[in-house]
């Protein structure tokens, strides 16, 4: 069975996968499915977020964040409680950092599929590529440095503690701009890649990220880096937002026709699509 040549201007229908064993269908999809890269990116994103959650919350236990108001002995104690977790957990974080790439690429792809200028996609890619540095890596590095030598000067450990958490929480501005870029693209888009309410939700997300800015000033209270407003409420919105866009990206890939016009809606469940059969393999 030969695949038709893929022209990006014409909508593409997936040819039928061969009926057969689970393995043979998987192999066929791996080699021929026109959306395999998109699905790969989507799964990388899902796995990355799961790992990120597990690593930051359960392995390293650096989230929910501790208080900026602690004194040095408490901070040192906090590090020694988490010594192994931090080193192992962030070791894995360094390994999986690269998974951000397909994830951000998929989001940028969604903007390429829109009717708006490609500038949006490119800006988003640049912003988010850079944002992983303060938003994840600097914290990982600072924490591992602090945990590496438990007998280090406690003042230095405290310094690294402040450095890590301020970098992690305080640099939300970059993510905020990224959210806004995506939001404007969605609201201007005529190809209905995403529903407009998601554009508005992006605005909510961007605004809660503004709210984290006071973390640079306060050592305690609702606006400190562990505060009810600067962290907890922000986290609820962020998790909701992430969950929603994961689902919406999935829908986008299912609807994708590789054309340049409005993205078609999903067919009704009764009318089985060829692509659905391929989906069944995953």
């Amino acid at each position: 069975m030969s695949l038709p040549k893929m022209k990006t201007t014409e909508p593409l229908t997936a040819p039928d996968p061969p009926a057969g064993s689970w393995v043979s269908r998987l192999a066929w999809n791996f080699r021929h499915h026109p959306k395999r890269e998109l699905w790969f990116a989507w799964w990388v994103m899902v796995i990355f977020y799961q790992l990120y959650g597990v690593l930051f919350f359960f392995v390293t236990r650096v989230q929910p964040p501790p208080s900026p108001a602690w004194d040095t002995p408490t901070v040192t104690q906090w590090f020694s409680d988490r010594h192994l977790g931090i080193l192992a957990g962030f070791g894995v974080v360094f390994l999986i950092t690269g998974m951000c790439a397909p994830m951000n690429a998929l989001l940028a792809y969604s903007m390429r599929r829109m009717s708006v200028s490609r500038l949006f996609a490119y800006s988003y890619l640049i912003i988010y590529s850079l944002s992983a540095i303060p938003g994840m890596l600097v914290m990982a590095i600072a924490m591992t440095v602090a945990a590496l030598r438990p007998d280090r000067d406690p003042e230095l450990i405290h310094w690294l503690y402040d450095f890590a958490f301020l970098s992690f929480s305080g640099t939300m501005g970059v993510f905020m701009i990224g959210s806004l870029v995506w939001m404007v693209a969605i609201l201007l888009d005529k190809n209905c890649v995403f529903p407009k309410w998601f554009g508005y939700l992006s605005l909510c997300n961007a605004l809660t990220e503004v709210v984290v800015a006071p973390a640079w000033i306060f050592h305690r209270g609702a606006f400190a880096w562990n505060g009810a407003i600067a962290w907890w409420i922000n986290m609820v919105v962020f998790v909701t937002y992430t969950g929603v866009f994961i689902v919406l990206l999935r829908k986008m890939i299912q609807r994708e026709d590789f054309g340049a016009g409005p993205l078609p809606d999903l067919p009704d469940k009764g009318v089985a699509d060829h692509s659905d059969a391929a989906e069944a393999v995953r």
Binding site: W197, Y200, L207
Partner: protein, 197 residues
Amino acid sequence: MTNRAGSRPQLEEKLTKFVPGQPDMWMFVLFESLLFTGYFSVYLVSRTQNEELYLQSQAALDLRFGVFNTIALLLSSWAIARCVQASREGAYRSALINAFLTVSFGVVFLTSKVLEWVNEIQMGNTFTSDEFFQHYFFLTSIHCIHVLIGFIGLGVVVYQLWSPVRRSQQLVETGATYWHTVDFLWVLIFALLYVVR
């Protein structure tokens, strides 16, 4: 519609049930109000933990500013509601005038807010002074950001109303729905910051 006495029930019947503006904007409105409710709840709980401090600091606020701000925003909401109705009936000139009125009242609100902030800061009450003023400056600032975004929304409304080739009633209503949200959020903020004891 020349017979005023009989026209009202007819008009009301004519208005079959419709969702004003994009349903998407309503989702935003509901979500954002929940978010603000979260912020308000944090404020109220903190307040109960430190009543004396909050009472003392609150006394530094001038209720007149708050009332003036509320009335300004209520006027702006009224204007945009009139704009939506005018636009629905095809009276675009009137709709545009009302839209500009809305913007003007919004600017009045913003100016008065900035004056109030300057006033407070000159009295020595800043964002970092104490807990009450943390919440005060935070809530009023984040609300102001919403007002500024509202101006963008109103810009879209004016843009739509301006030329006959556009005039999407749905977009006009959507912009109005956002603006009303800004208004009712302020109603809540005013009650919580200025009046609640």
